[in-house]
């Protein structure tokens, strides 16, 4: 199969998965106890039976399950995720408004974790019993065991409460005025702690993985050949070995992405980062079903896109991978 065919197949399967996500969400919400019309009425400060009936009519809650499901799915196909009765805004608009903040947090922390993790892994593999190796082992234990909100809170206690170097939360400071660069600096200032917190979990994972993968590659015959040719250590490590050791790292980074989105929910809550996670929590607490469903759908969509990109990247790194 050619690359385009493979990608087309992946995209087709991705679309099926998304429809599955939609149906699952919709079914869950329908079988859950409690009445949506009641909770809308509750948000309005209570209402009598006729108003509740009107709400039912307006949102089509009286129609059979499959009609409602079909209406929802066909709406999503037109990029219409419904209307949030809590925020009084179309859900698509709400999500697009919060999306950049989440993507910024998620991608910056992933890039940081991958680059730093790979570097640590390579250095550790160079001396399997050296001090960097020990650091990697220590990091990976810490990264797995420390609850992400706890490390975030410890960072807040350390760098906001004891040494006031960073803002306690939010994404920008409205009192900061100035040109583009001043604004950018302000954004980075706010981004730093949440980014470090989210990156810490994955730094642990990637450095351990990069170490193991490098150690395996460094034992291969072609590395010995490269060394025998008299190539400098730097060339052997970063050009010959690293390129081949990256495969498992990219695979895992792609697989982890749905967990990263989950981690972002917690980190955003800790640092009041105005992204999808904060929106998700607020809408869940407010029982704002259209928004909850929209976010679940949208984050699954992002995960699927990232998985397809991972596949393509893997093929670019390693031309030996043929479509199977």
């Amino acid at each position: 199969m050619s690359l385009t065919q493979t990608i087309a197949k992946r995209i087709g399967w991705g679309l099926l998965l998304l429809i599955g996500v939609l149906i699952l969400n919709f079914t869950l919400i329908s079988i859950a106890p409690g009445d949506i019309a009641d909770s809308i009425a509750g948000d309005m400060g209570g209402a009598d039976a006729t108003v509740i009936e009107e709400i039912r009519e307006r949102y089509g809650l009286n129609e059979p399950f499959y009609v409602q499901l079909w209406r929802y799915v066909s709406g999503v196909a037109r990029l219409d995720l419904g209307f949030s009765y809590f925020y009084n805004t179309p859900v698509t608009e709400l999500i697009l408004e919060k999306l950049p903040a989440t993507l910024l947090l998620v991608f910056s922390s992933q890039i940081l974790a991958i680059v730093l993790g790979t570097l640590l892994g390579v250095l550790a593999a160079k001396k399997p019993n050296g001090i960097v190796s020990l650091l990697v082992t220590f990091l990976s234990l810490f990264g797995f065991a420390a609850p992400v909100f706890w490390s975030g809170i410890l960072l807040i206690i350390a760098f906001v409460s004891i040494f006031p170097l960073f803002p306690v939360g939010g994404m920008t400071d409205v009192t900061v005025e100035g040109g583009f660069f001043v604004q950018l600096l302000d954004l980075l200032h706010h981004l730093f702690l949440p980014m470090i917190t989210l990156a810490s979990i994955y730094l642990a994972l990637y450095s351990r993985l990069a170490r193991a993968s490098m150690l395996e590659v460094l034992g291969a015959d072609y590395i010995r050949t490269a060394r025998a040719k008299g190539l400098p250590q730097r060339m052997v490590l970063y050009k010959h070995a690293l390129k081949n050791a990256l495969g498992p790292l990219v695979t895992v980074a792609g697989l982890q992405f749905s967990a990263v989105m989950s981690g972002a929910v917690v980190v955003e809550t800790v640092f009041s980062w105005p992204g999808l996670g904060t929106l998700a929590l607020q809408s869940i607490l407010a029982r704002d079903t259209p928004t909850i469903m929209g976010i679940l759908f949208f984050s699954s969509f992002v995960v699927i896109v990232v998985n397809i990109l991972t596949d393509i990247t893997l093929r670019m790194i390693d031309p030996r991978i043929k479509a199977s």
Binding site: L17, G20, V21, L24, N25, L28, I29, A32, P33, G34, L141, F142, F144, A145, A146, P147, V148, F149, W150, I153, L154, I156, I157, V160, S161, V168, A212, L215, E216, L255, S258, A259, M261, S262, G263, V265, V266, T269, A280, L281, I284, L285, R287, I292, I295, L296, S299, S300, V303, I304, N307
Partner: protein, 299 residues
């Protein structure tokens, strides 16, 4: 002094062969040679004693207000201080730990059950069954786990049961993959073919022949899953999605969170308890991995 050299009898040879130790004993000795794993085991035992036996020595109701709020640890007679309602933190750590551990264990058992079932059938039958089951698994991998379980808990109410189910239902995919790949490998081995030629039923082959031999990596995975289920429960409670009438470590963190800038200890202590517990579990996991999969040790 001169011991005869050539007095080895057939009896001695047989005895030497008998001395080959039981696989379990060999595994245990391998485990106990790993100092980090032993340290993890001791740590876990200490935590379990603290959590389950501690309340007999420190019989304080964790829900009862005993003092002014935010008394710092050791300062006014409270070893770990008091929380935002003036409740004893030491008692909360003990009782909360029971809940955290119970949820972790129960959720891990649920996901183990789902994961092993899906993985075993996929790996054993192959073909269409495998295709469908693995697609099903992939579907659950795409759903952001925490978000999905948040939705489940929010929709069906925050009780111990829903929280445990919500964690178990979203975290079985790794077990399914491990189980499947073990089944794929083992079903081709000769002893399985032998059992099959003895007209053993599929059921017998899956659960009596293959599964016991596939267990080592599953056990390692299950052990890690208890740790991540504890973390998962803590994250849900931290977000406010847990039973407010049940005290758990995560719940203590969640309820004290608004006051971290003044009294960080009320959050740092339960977080540290979770950290230590999960650390102990993962150290044990590493040790089990070495002891159960000796071939993988060089990696």
């Amino acid at each position: 002094m001169s011991e005869p050299f050539n007095n080895t009898t057939a009896n001695d040879v047989a005895e030497a062969q008998i001395k080959v130790s039981h696989p379990l004993a060999e595994m245990a000795s391998m485990f106990f040679r790993n100092y980090a794993a032993v340290a993890g085991l001791i740590l876990l035992i200490v935590i379990i004693l603290f959590v389950f036996v501690g309340p007999y020595f420190h019989p304080v109701d964790p829900f009862e207000m005993v003092w002014a709020p935010f008394s710092r640890p050791m300062e006014e007679g409270f070893v770990l201080g008091t929380d935002y309602l003036g409740r004893d933190m030491l008692a909360a750590m003990m009782v909360g730990g029971q809940v955290s551990m119970a949820i972790g264990l129960a959720a891990a058992l649920i996901s183990l059950f789902i994961g092993v079932t899906v993985g075993a059938f996929a790996g054993y039958y192959g073909g269409v069954v495998e295709e469908i089951l693995m697609r099903f698994t992939e579907f659950f991998q795409v759903l952001p786990t925490l978000l999905f379980s948040m939705v489940i808990v929010a929709l069906f109410g925050a009780s111990l049961l829903t929280v445990t189910l919500a964690i178990g239902v979203v975290s079985w995919t790794a077990v399914a993959r491990v189980t499947r790949s073990e089944f794929l490998r083992i079903r081709e081995l000769e002893y399985v073919a032998a059992a099959r030629s003895g007209s053993a039923s599929d059921w017998y082959l899956i659960f009596k022949v293959i599964l016991p031999n596939a267990l080592p990596p599953i056990i390692v995975q299950a052990n890690l899953m208890v740790g991540s289920a504890i973390l998962f429960e803590a994250a849900l409670s931290f977000l406010g999605l847990s039973d407010p009438n049940v005290m758990s470590w995560g719940q203590v963190i969640g309820s004290n969170r608004p006051y971290i800038l003044d009294s960080g200890f009320t959050v740092a202590i339960p977080g540290f308890a979770i950290f230590l517990t999960v650390l102990a579990i993962s150290l044990i996991g590493d040790g089990l991995n070495d002891a159960l999969n000796p071939k993988l040790r060089q990696r």
